[in-house]
């Protein structure tokens, strides 16, 4: 299907809007989760949504997204509190608490699911699509609910931005400044559940982990400040969501959820590698560059000290001796210094190897280098 035709298709439009909403809410809330090292809490809360989905269905009697999301929200938040209680009140560590909550809530969900299926209620067909999401089944009415939840989340974060930022960065200072730290941390934790319920329809329970973590991690590689990170994370979430949705629409048989996750992960990998300043590739390049530069600085100061020792500003240092001093071939470094006009090659005595001497510019540069490594630097 050509792209334009795609976009005017009702289902595709719904999926696209849903993907955008998902991107916004998971990028924003995921940023806080990742910075607070609660990444895997997203995983646990996503799995904990399953029993809530079933309960919501039971209450509504039918597949009503509003009730389902409400149920999912309740069980997710309860699971978060359960994890907190286990870690704070018992010797159980965080990872075990997360895994326990995940396994048990999901088991409860499975039990409820089979119980509902046992009741052979006709409309329960498709309940288990919340495992992987069924983006294509998104209705306009669903989007209103998702949009509403997203709006609430955005409003909450905006109005408490300073507080959330400070509590995430330095909870002790925040407490000393008078902020209600426990309350704020509780809200931040519970908000992950909001992201989870919005994502239920689009990517399903299992893949929500990725949507919470990946956009935030990708954004972190590029952003200098939290504000930028959150905005970027939302952007990455939107792009991943749209890409997944559109690819899924244009191909047959490809589920939307996994595509969105793979898109997001690809963006993360690219960001880790290529982000300017922080990217792995940039660091490699900088290291190679530094190795060269450091080598040059060392060489200049060595030549200078040799000249000073011999009280001859034009003291010709022999290449072989320099090689021995450094333990490696110094020709490359010396050539580069020569290109910069800081040293020149001289013939010392016929038949001997290369000798190198500092030019006046080289002497100046060497003095600068030596001054910069002296002890009295601020």
């Amino acid at each position: 299907m050509p792209m334009l035709a795609l976009l005017s298709d009702y289902t595709v439009q719904n999926v696209a809007i849903g993907a955008v909403l998902l991107g916004v809410v998971s990028g924003m809330l995921g940023s806080f989760a990742v910075l607070r090292q609660q990444s895997l809490l997203g995983d646990t809360l996503a799995h904990a949504a399953l029993p809530g989905v079933c309960i919501g269905f039971l209450i509504a009697g039918t597949r009503d997204l509003g009730w389902i999301m409400a149920g999912a929200l309740v069980t997710s938040v309860l699971a978060a509190l359960f994890v907190l209680a286990l870690t704070r009140r018992t010797r159980i560590k965080t990872d075990a608490a997360l895994g326990t909550a995940l396994g048990l809530t999901f088991a409860a969900g499975v039990v409820l699911l089979t119980w509902i299926q046992g009741q052979s209620n006709a409309s329960q067909g498709g309940l288990d699509t919340f495992l992987f999401g069924q983006a294509a089944a998104t209705l306009r009415s669903d989007l209103w609910i998702m949009g509403g939840v997203t709006l609430i989340a955005v409003a909450l974060v905006l109005c408490c931005w300073k507080q959330f930022k400070l509590v995430t960065f330095d909870p002790e200072f925040a407490g000393a400044s008078g902020l209600p730290v426990a309350l704020l941390e509780g809200v931040l934790t519970a908000m992950i559940a909001l992201a989870v319920v919005v994502g239920l329809q689009m990517v399903g329970v299992v893949l929500m982990t990725s949507m919470v973590i990946a956009p935030a991690v990708a954004a972190r590689q590029w952003a200098k400040r939290l504000e930028g990170m959150v905005v970027l994370a939302m952007g990455v979430g939107i792009v991943a969501g749209l890409s997944g949705a559109l690819i899924s629409a244009s191909a047959r048989n490809l589920a939307t959820g996994p595509l969105i996750v793979l898109a997001a992960t690809a963006i993360v990998l690219l960001s880790i590698l290529f982000a300017p300043g922080r990217g792995v590739l940039w660091e490699q390049i900088r290291r190679w560059h530094d190795r060269g530069t450091i080598g040059q600085r060392q060489m200049l100061s060595t030549l200078y000290k040799l000249a000073a020792h011999h009280r001859d500003p034009e003291y010709p240092a022999e290449a072989g001796m320099l090689d021995g001093l450094y333990g490696v071939r110094t020709q490359g470094i010396l050539r580069r210094l020569e290109q910069r006009g800081l040293v020149e090659a001289v013939e010392h005595m016929p038949g001997e190897g290369h000798h190198w001497t500092l030019t006046p510019a080289g002497r100046e540069e060497a003095e600068r280098v030596l001054a910069s490594v002296s002890p009295e630097t601020p």
Partner: protein
């Protein structure tokens, strides 16, 4: 004759499968929990879907040794990629875990979508399993029809048990003191990867029975419950296995009664046992702790009072500080609490009261001194 009845008893087979999953899971899970790597089991259980699909595409085998090896490799790949990403130091470890396994899982699901639509391996079953159907899929062994799940689960459980027994010392040391273990040449990293490989093989063997996520419950919950009940490694392993077996039996019964997923119910029962451990654990259980705390609180308060009197007696402020009203004003205890503490302290012979003034007895003074100046000799 007996064996035929044994293998033909579907209930028994189902319970046995559950128990084997629980035992195999608990054996590796104990070490994962102690190493604080519990969530890796969740990661592995999801990502090996990719391994299963790839192996199937290559060999058309849905189970058996090839699948098991493929699973082990995928599990190791998962952890390897996670550590690779974390090692760039741009990503924290927990985030790295949450990046790798969903991506691998998504890749697996997509491959399924593309190439394996019509096959028994569908996402649903992989995630949820259906332990009730294990006896549909049997192998002939020595003339008896044995459910395949039992065969492979037994093999895996035995392998895990063998690993734990043979390397018990090394595992113990590596878990509690990896640096010393490395210094002694025990190669804790290799052991760890072996542990993860076994976790992966357990996961794939368990898939037919209980699916990916319930497997996580079996791996993490029984050891966690055992962790609350004991402080030593060998009892922890045994308790975890015991809890797994009991959960399997009870879970089956309840599931039949309610007509729900058997695997799910077994997993929930592990939670029930965790709840029991949380409440009744002899040292770490809630009841035991509250009991101790109650006792502690009395001791705490008595000590506070005694030290307070000691600090202020024979000083200028004694008139004010060592008087009954001071308990409320200065120490911040409300009237009822102050009276209760005072009564106990008098009863225990720490304090004397004359009118509104309080005096330390010799016993009270000695107690205070031992608290504040433990290095000074008793007078």
């Amino acid at each position: 004759m007996m064996l035929e009845a044994f293998f033909g008893n579907s209930a028994l087979m189902i319970v046995m499968t559950g128990a084997l999953v629980g035992i195999a899971g608990s054996l590796v899970g104990t070490f994962l929990v102690l190493r604080r790597n519990a969530m890796l089991s969740d990661a592995i259980s999801h990502s090996i879907v990719l391994g299963i699909v790839v192996v199937w595409l290559l060999t058309h085998a849905q189970s058996g040794p090839i699948q098991i090896i493929g699973a082990a490799l995928t599990g190791l790949l998962t952890v390897f990629l996670t550590e690779l990403i974390a090692s760039t130091r741009r990503v924290k470890t927990d985030a790295a875990i949450g990046l790798v396994f969903p991506a691998l899982f998504a890749a697996g699901v997509l491959l399924l979508n593309l190439y394996a639509r019509d096959v028994h391996i569908d996402e649903h079953t992989v995630l949820l399993g259906e332990i009730g159907f294990i006896w549909l899929d049997t192998i002939a062994i020595g003339g008896y029809e044995v459910p395949q799940a039992i065969v492979w689960m037994s093999v895996v459980a035995l392998a895990n048990a063998a690993f734990v027994i043979v390397f018990f010392k090394e595992l113990k040391l590596s878990t509690f003191d990896p640096q010393l273990a490395a210094a002694l040449g025990f190669a804790p990293t290799v052991l760890f990867y072996a542990l993860l490989a076994l976790t992966s093989t357990t996961a794939v063997a368990a898939f037919d029975a209980v699916g990916a996520v319930l497997f996580v419950a079996f791996v993490i919950v029984p050891p966690t419950a055992a962790y609350l009940l004991t402080d030593r490694l060998a009892p922890m392993l045994l308790l975890a296995c015991a809890i797994a077996i009991l959960s399997s039996i009870s879970g089956y019964q309840v599931a039949l009664w309610l007509d729900v997923s058997i695997g799910g119910m077994m997993a929930l029962m592990t939670g029930a046992f965790l709840g029991l451990a949380l409440l009744f654990g002899p040292r770490h259980g809630w009841i035991a702790q509250e009991w101790r705390r109650l006792g502690e609180r009395h001791m705490e308060a008595a000590r506070t009072l005694v030290v307070h009197l000691y600090q202020h007696e024979n000083t200028g402020r004694a008139e004010v500080e060592n008087a009954v009203p001071a308990l409320e004003r200065h120490l911040g205890w409300n009237a009822a609490r102050a009276q209760a503490i005072l009564a106990r302290s008098r009863k225990n012979g720490f304090v004397l009261q004359e009118g509104r003034m309080l005096y330390l007895t010799h016993k009270g003074r000695e107690t205070a001194r031992s608290l504040i100046e433990p290095w000074a000799p008793a007078r």
